[in-house]
Each structure stands twice: as structure tokens, then as C-alpha cells.
């Protein structure tokens, strides 16, 4: 592919940085023993995906809040903790809210 339009590339770079940062949390905080390139962005965090349980979810929540300096409300967390991508969506939305405020 030829180079992407500048604005799109900027948005995607920020998304990929956030995704990589969350993968780093999975390997550091949750001791996930998988190479980063082998963690798919849409893989479910629970059950048939990465197999996390409720304790893992709590650890990940704390790690994400600390890493990104965010406070995540309970009602949005359950919905966002489906996959890495949905977690990235939440982090990006919260960051945008902070900037707007």
C-alpha cells in the first residue's frame, strides 16, 4: 500500500501505541506468556480467548487505570473488557474526554 493520509496515519499510530501499551500490561501485570505479535487485537479476554478470570480482570483494570491515569466506571468496564480492541476504544474515548474537558 502507498503511505496513508497523514491524519489517518496519526490516528492509527496513536491507536497502535495504546494497543501495544495494553499488551505490555498483559505480559507484565498478568504475566501472559505470549509474544506481543501473537496477541490478536480482537481476541476475547475471557473464556475461549485469553482465558482470563474475574481476578485477572480486576488486575488489568487497576493496571490500565494506573498506566493511562484514568478512572473507569464499573458500568463501562464490563462492556469494554471484551477484547483488547474494545479496551483500546475505551481508553481512547476517555483520553478524548479529558482533552475536551
Amino acid at each position: 500500500m502507498r503511505p496513508l493520509p497523514e491524519e489517518l496515519q496519526r490516528v492509527l499510530d496513536h491507536r497502535v501505541e495504546t494497543l501495544e501499551a495494553i499488551k505490555q500490561l498483559l505480559t507484565e501485570s498478568l504475566r501472559l506468556n505470549t509474544p506481543h505479535e501473537a496477541i490478536d487485537p480482537d481476541v476475547p479476554l475471557f473464556a475461549a480467548g485469553l482465558g482470563f478470570d474475574s481476578v485477572d480482570a480486576l488486575e488489568l483494570l487497576v493496571a490500565v487505570e494506573t498506566r493511562f491515569s484514568l478512572k473507569l466506571e464499573e458500568d463501562v468496564v464490563r462492556d469494554a473488557f471484551r477484547s483488547l480492541n474494545s479496551l483500546v476504544d475505551l481508553v481512547l474515548a476517555k483520553q478524548a474526554e479529558k482533552v475536551a474537558a
Binding site: 496513508l4 501473537a38 477484547s83
Partner: protein, 359 residues
């Protein structure tokens, strides 16, 4: 979308649906080295406790996905259920994996495979199978009271179970689940309906998603591969990744139907191809997946478009699956009954922006 398919989807999303899986292959690995044979056969590391079920894949030596395999540890044996275009090769491959081991592969032609799915699937299940099934956790299996096996799995986004019963008892089982009672009506549903639900739920369906040449890297199924394992397909996948795989399955929403294979474009340049696209009656717009070039295989992009069957360029937006929240999200099997469904507050169905909102 046909009326029958719409009715099937309504049943699956609001009550319960029973489907027959005639092409699903059931095979036993037996003997003291059954687990060793399974480890040879499959790319997934199988740490299985008694009664546990784990999803895996049947891969070619080049790493292409031939079928989806569920592995259940039942007593000293392993039960393998395979779905997909390559499922019929399971027996030959399993026999090959048993060579030199104290293990044998036995195709179970007597077991018929049915599935029961839906937010209130628990009720008819309890009524037919007995109250002991109520505590069966996700990803577990048990031997059923009469004969056959029950696996709690499912990819529809609703509560889901595989029922394995002797072929001779299939009609009686359909009759038992179809008998009117206090629970929800149980509709006979098609596999197409289950595949549609899997798409909406962001889950893999071997029947609908497999295509020649696709590996776990393109299909986002790497969690089913153990990268520490010595396995010919794993080695091939590592090489495929090193050489740089080009495309990844990515979900999108769109206001118009797009044909399979339609080119996805970015500023007039090819950026991928539509894999699946279907109208979601639950959401009121089209949902789909596309194999997109890696630089744009990300959620949140609204600069892509593809041509519909009439040649019109239609904008699409990539999103993070699942597309919707299902009623099963709020149904508690021990507390919520079909008869009291009006007291439940369904979640807002859409998890993604509609194509109109997105633009």
C-alpha cells in the same frame, strides 16, 4: 434475508433455538497416551482437567485452518468435535497422530450432534436433562443422564450447548425439546442462523469464515496456537509471520449490503476485500468482516469504502466486535425465567456506532 431466517434469529436472540449439525465429526481418542496423540494432532497446548472443553483448530502443515475442533476431557478419553471443510479428514489425521503411541482414534458414527442456544436455553435444558445441568460452567462437558454428552460452549453470543445423543434417539430428543411447557418455545433453527449470530457476536464460525489459504494469523485465532509447541503447523505459522502476513480479518458496519469478495478501497487504492456482510435485524444495519491490509486492519477507520452489487461505492467503518449486546448478558440462569422475561431490562443492543452515526 428470508422470513425463516428472520424467525430463526428472533428465536435465538429472545428465546431458544435447536439446531442439527449433520456434518460435525465426533471422534474419540482413547488409551493411556490419548493426550499425547491430541498434542501431536492439534496446535493448542491441552491442559485439560476432567470435564473441561477447549477450542482448537485442525491445521494443514502450512498452517491453513481446515476445521475448528473442540476437545473435551471425559474420563480417561478425549472427545473431539470438528466442524468446517476439513472436518472429514479428522479421522485419518488422528490415526496418524496415534502411530507409535498407546492411543487409538475411533470415529463415533453413533453420536448425533445438536446444539441449543438462546438467552433462555437453560430452561428447556433443565426440563429435559434434569436440574444438575444448571451448574455446568462455560467450557465444560458432562455425561448426560440417559446417554450421550452435553458441552457448554457456543459462539452465538447467547447461552449455548452442544447435545450429543445416539442417532436413534434424535427424534425423541427433538420431541422432548419441542414439547410446550413453562419455558420458552424451542424453535428448530438453521446453521445459517447460528453463523449469522456468530458474526454479530464477533465469534469465529468454521462453516462461514473458512476460505482457502487463511491461517490463524489472518483470522485472529492465534490464541488457539501454542507458540512454544513443536508442531509442523506452528513452525509454518512462525515462518508466515516472519515473512510478513498481509491481511487481517477486521469487523465493519455499513449501510448497504456488500458482496463477498468486493474490493475495499482507500482513496481509490485496494486495501482489502469483503469477507462476510449481512443485515443485522437486531441492529437495523449491515455488519461484516473484511480481510484488510495490516496498516488499515484497525478499528475506528471511516475512510474505507467498497462497491455494492450495483457498483455504487459505499462507505464503511471498521469497529471492534462484538457488534451487539445480547439478552444473555442480563439473564441469570438461576434467577430469570422466560415467564418473567417482561421484568428484565434488555441492554442497549448496539455496541458499535451505526453507519450513519459513524460518518
Amino acid at each position: 434475508m428470508s422470513e425463516a431466517l428472520l424467525d430463526d434469529l428472533l428465536a435465538l436472540r429472545t428465546a431458544a433455538g435447536l439446531a442439527h449439525h449433520p456434518d460435525t465429526v465426533a471422534l474419540w481418542l482413547r488409551g493411556p497416551a490419548a493426550l499425547d496423540a491430541a498434542e501431536r494432532l492439534l496446535p493448542t497446548e491441552l491442559f485439560l482437567r476432567e470435564g473441561q472443553v477447549r477450542p482448537s483448530l485442525l491445521l494443514s502443515e502450512t498452517g491453513v485452518v481446515d476445521a475448528e475442533v473442540l476437545v473435551a476431557a471425559l474420563g480417561e478419553d478425549l472427545l473431539l468435535l470438528a466442524e468446517g471443510p476439513g472436518a472429514s479428514s479428522l479421522r485419518a489425521r488422528a490415526e496418524h497422530s496415534c502411530e507409535g503411541l498407546e492411543a487409538r482414534a475411533e470415529l463415533d458414527a453413533e453420536l448425533d450432534v445438536l446444539s441449543l442456544s438462546g438467552p433462555f436455553a437453560w430452561e428447556p435444558l433443565r426440563a429435559v436433562e434434569g436440574p444438575s445441568v444448571a451448574g455446568l460452567p462455560y467450557g465444560h462437558a458432562l455425561h448426560r443422564a440417559e446417554s450421550g454428552y452435553l458441552l457448554r460452549t457456543g459462539g452465538s453470543g447467547e447461552f449455548g450447548f452442544f447435545l450429543l445423543a445416539p442417532r436413534a434417539g434424535r427424534d425423541a430428543l427433538f420431541e422432548a425439546y419441542g414439547a410446550p411447557g413453562e419455558g420458552p418455545p424451542v424453535r428448530r433453527v438453521s446453521l445459517d442462523a447460528l453463523d449469522h449470530c456468530a458474526l454479530e457476536a464477533g465469534n469465529f464460525s468454521a462453516r462461514a469464515d473458512l476460505a482457502p489459504g487463511l491461517t490463524p494469523l489472518e483470522l485472529q485465532l492465534q490464541a488457539r496456537v501454542s507458540w512454544h509447541k513443536t508442531h509442523p503447523a506452528v513452525a509454518a505459522l512462525e515462518a508466515h509471520r516472519r515473512e510478513g502476513f498481509r491481511r487481517r480479518l477486521t469487523s465493519f458496519v455499513v449501510a448497504h449490503e456488500l458482496p463477498r469478495g468486493a474490493l475495499v478501497e482507500l482513496d481509490g487504492e485496494e486495501a482489502g476485500a469483503v469477507h462476510r456482510c449481512s443485515y443485522s435485524p437486531s441492529l437495523g444495519f449491515y455488519v461484516g468482516t473484511a480481510l484488510l491490509e495490516l496498516p488499515v486492519a484497525h478499528s475506528g477507520i471511516d475512510a474505507l469504502s467498497a462497491r455494492d452489487a450495483g457498483g455504487e461505492l459505499r462507505p464503511l467503518r471498521t469497529v471492534s466486535p462484538p457488534f451487539l449486546r445480547t439478552l444473555s448478558f442480563v439473564v441469570h440462569p438461576q434467577r430469570n425465567r422466560w415467564a418473567e422475561r417482561a421484568t428484565l431490562t434488555p441492554p442497549p443492543s448496539s455496541r458499535v456506532p451505526s453507519p450513519q452515526e459513524a460518518r
